[in-house]
């Protein structure tokens, strides 16, 4: 599903990535590790389609509506409620039975009771759990998670573990993390930057 050869990226005068090779088949679980500043986020953004490599070739064999990207930032509007945020994304991703699915996801991550509160009242953990909902909303085939455990609270982390266990094999994952021990058991290949 993902095929990268010699992928590199230069930002201005700074080289952020050099000669990255990656082959990730469908159903695979790719683990990306490396110190801060190694370019993990840049690589994930390129796979997601948000940035273009300046060198090398990158092929991602999936359409935009089948990709879910969990970034450093939660990518939700802080002035809107959880419900309003998910409604917007639900409409943009043309999800069938939108309201039911949103309700189901909010309940699963434990945000149902807070659904009508604005996101700027949430704790960091709650916001990241909402971000997780956003990512899972359209049931993507390719899930790209950029250091997902960093902003999650204990409850959220357990939820994510459960999701990963449930979905791995059926979906393709590309995950970058500081804490590889947590997900190494699931990984089918590992890339160290």
């Amino acid at each position: 599903m993902i095929s990268a050869h010699g992928v590199g990226r230069i930002f201005g005068e700074k080289r952020v990535l050099r000669g990255v090779d990656l082959e990730l088949p469908r159903g695979g679980f790719g683990l990306v590790t490396g110190p801060n500043g190694a370019g993990k986020t840049t690589l994930l953004r390129m796979v997601a389609g948000l940035a273009i490599p300046t060198e090398g070739e990158l092929h991602v064999d999936v359409t935009r509506d089948r990709v879910g990207f969990l970034a450093h930032e939660p990518l939700v509007y802080r002035e809107l409620t959880a419900l309003e945020n998910l409604e917007l994304y639900g409409k943009l991703y043309r999800i069938p039975e939108r309201k039911e699915r949103i309700g189901m996801l909010l309940e699963r991550v434990g945000l149902w009771d807070a659904r009508r509160a604005r996101v700027n009242t949430y704790s960091r953990g709650m916001t990241q759990r909402l971000a997780l909902c956003r990512v899972l909303l359209h049931d993507p085939d390719l899930l790209i998670l950029d250091e997902p455990y960093t902003a999650l609270d204990v409850q959220g982390a357990e939820l994510l573990d459960a999701q990963l266990d449930e979905l791995h094999g059926a979906k393709t994952f590309l995950v970058s993390t500081h804490d590889p021990q947590r997900v190494r058991r699931l990984a089918t290949c590992e890339l160290s930057l």
Binding site: I10, F11, G12, E13, R15, I52, T54
Partner: protein, 226 residues
Amino acid sequence: MARKHRIPLPALAVASLVLVTLALVLVFFVAPNDADQGFSQRIFYFHVSIAFTSYLCFGAGAWKALRHLWKRDPAADLESYVAVHQGVIFGSLVLLTGSIWAKISWGHWWLWSENQLVLFLVLFLFYAAYFMLRFSVDPGPQRANLSAVYALFGVVLVPVSFMAIRLAQHFIHPVVFTRHGAAFGGWILATYLVAQFAVILLAYTLYRVELAGKLLDLRIRALRLA
């Protein structure tokens, strides 16, 4: 990344020098005095030539921009930038020569009634912002895209601004081909054509020089970051 150009640079430089000299000779010694404005009209040959060349440069910049966006031509971004740069340089000269002409003919260094001058002022503002935009983004695909889009906006702005300024209803600026009409023949036409061709050639030479320099910069940078 570099495109192979057919005409070698030294040949261009020599040709430009010859032609510009010829144009100067024709303009100052051979072309007859204009009945209306006498000597001041001579700067007009260059003013109009430079203006037209400037439009050509902006047009070329927009064309290269289109090639970058549409065909993903790797050389096009830099070529577009250099073309726009030349356009701005010659555009500044339009403002300068126009101002000199205005002072000689009408006694003022600036005339709001001069449509061409006003148009070039607007374009100058627009393309100056182009450079601010370009230098405010790190080199890369995004900078190339933003620059290309902006260059395309510029080329649409030219006729639109032209229309707008005319609509502002000032007709003092002599529009060369319509005003002079039948009297515009013989040596005047020949001189103008030589001057025009000379300026275009000069612009192209400068374009090639700057492009070569920028490409060299890029190669050094690529080596440094490899």
